[in-house]
Amino acid sequence: MKLVVEPYGEEHVEAVRAFNRRLSDAGFPQKLAESPTPKWLPPTHGVPIRQEYYVARDGADVRGGYTLKPQPFVVRGEVREIADYRFPLSEGIADRRFGMLAVLLLKDALRRQPLLFGLGMGARSEPVARLFGIFKWSLVDCPFFFRVHHPRRFLRGIVHLRRRPARRVLLDVLAHSGVGWAGIRALQSAKRIGGGFRERTAVREVEEFGDWCRVVWRDAVEAYDLVAVRDSPVLNALYPPHDPRFVRLRVDGGTGPVGWAVVLDTQMQGHKQFGDLRVGSIVDCLSAPGRERTVVRQATAWLERRGVDVCVSNQLHESWCAAFDTAGWLRGPSNFLFAASPALAERLAPLASRARRIHMTRGDGDGPIHL
């Protein structure tokens, strides 16, 4: 085994197909992309965010690969390119001859870009999170928030909470008796602080991010120790105007734009956690300091007017967490992690206290997959 990790090119496609077949034959559904050009975020002139594919070649065979998503971030006031380390896949999962490959892939990524992070990962017990832990990456939980709009449908449909028979019975009783409805409403109301909006604000759907979002970015950036650059070229690449899944909400105050949110309204079908619920998600958001709650409440109201059963979001920054807390959202167990490479963690030291000044949303990672 003499492994060479290199950028994925057309010459690797056949070997990648063979790799995917070997994994499939061994019972693993994971795959490497069978094209070297990413469908989402391909390298594009003038767009500072992209995906790069790398493969590990063993002679004529491909034995694994990974993806980098480099993009500009502001790290404590300084613009730096930082990359998301995504979808590492090694034949070691099926064949222990290649057990060392996961290490080589991660080391290769760090060699190309020492300022790396991982996002999502599922749980600390997942192999990637454990690998990060072994290599002394810093792991931080990104709180999970949810808000139930249709309590009865939620209680009857939330697969994640209905796995045990006894709990299913309890949730059915709560749903049919109205106690669940009353309880959820009471909990959410108790957390909601303040009545109507203090000033006239308005939310509207926009087809793309225009120059107006530069105002929001300029006002917001100093509030964060780590935040991805969120200007119109980046946002229109992340959330392409032609993609019907993304809804871009612009929130205006009395004097102009104060923030925005990207939301999804997804009718689930047999989802492993949400079953057949209609799920609204606040995927990404930004606002001028102090206007976070306005954005959360406007986005929530917009999703609820559309008829979603439940809204969900993951957030890390303290102001956004406080905004969700005080906008009537509840916290649930989070399986969404932020992992910083040692070099990135050093720039954010002490990470334990600075983590709450990091802005991370689902939009910073894999995008809104599964939602």
Binding site: K2, L3, S90, R96, G99, M100, K107, P127, K136
Partner: protein, 85 residues
Amino acid sequence: MKGRERIERTVLDAIRGCLAEKGAPRPDLGPDTAVDASLGLDSLDWAAVVVQLEGELGVDPFASGVDRELRTVRDLVEVYDSACG
């Protein structure tokens, strides 16, 4: 003890330690042992071995890429020996 001998012993000790933690000690482990499926280490085990070797030998040979075959423990020792200079 010469540098290379020390590296070999450190590599063997790291692998033995990892195997012992998994409850699969290998008393016959030596330089010619293949670092393949027969050894019984998975990706996370190798990660732990590499981190331990980085700590004990003070070098990270993988940081600049490794352009050689890794078939046996001896190959791994060579990699660390080259990195130690």
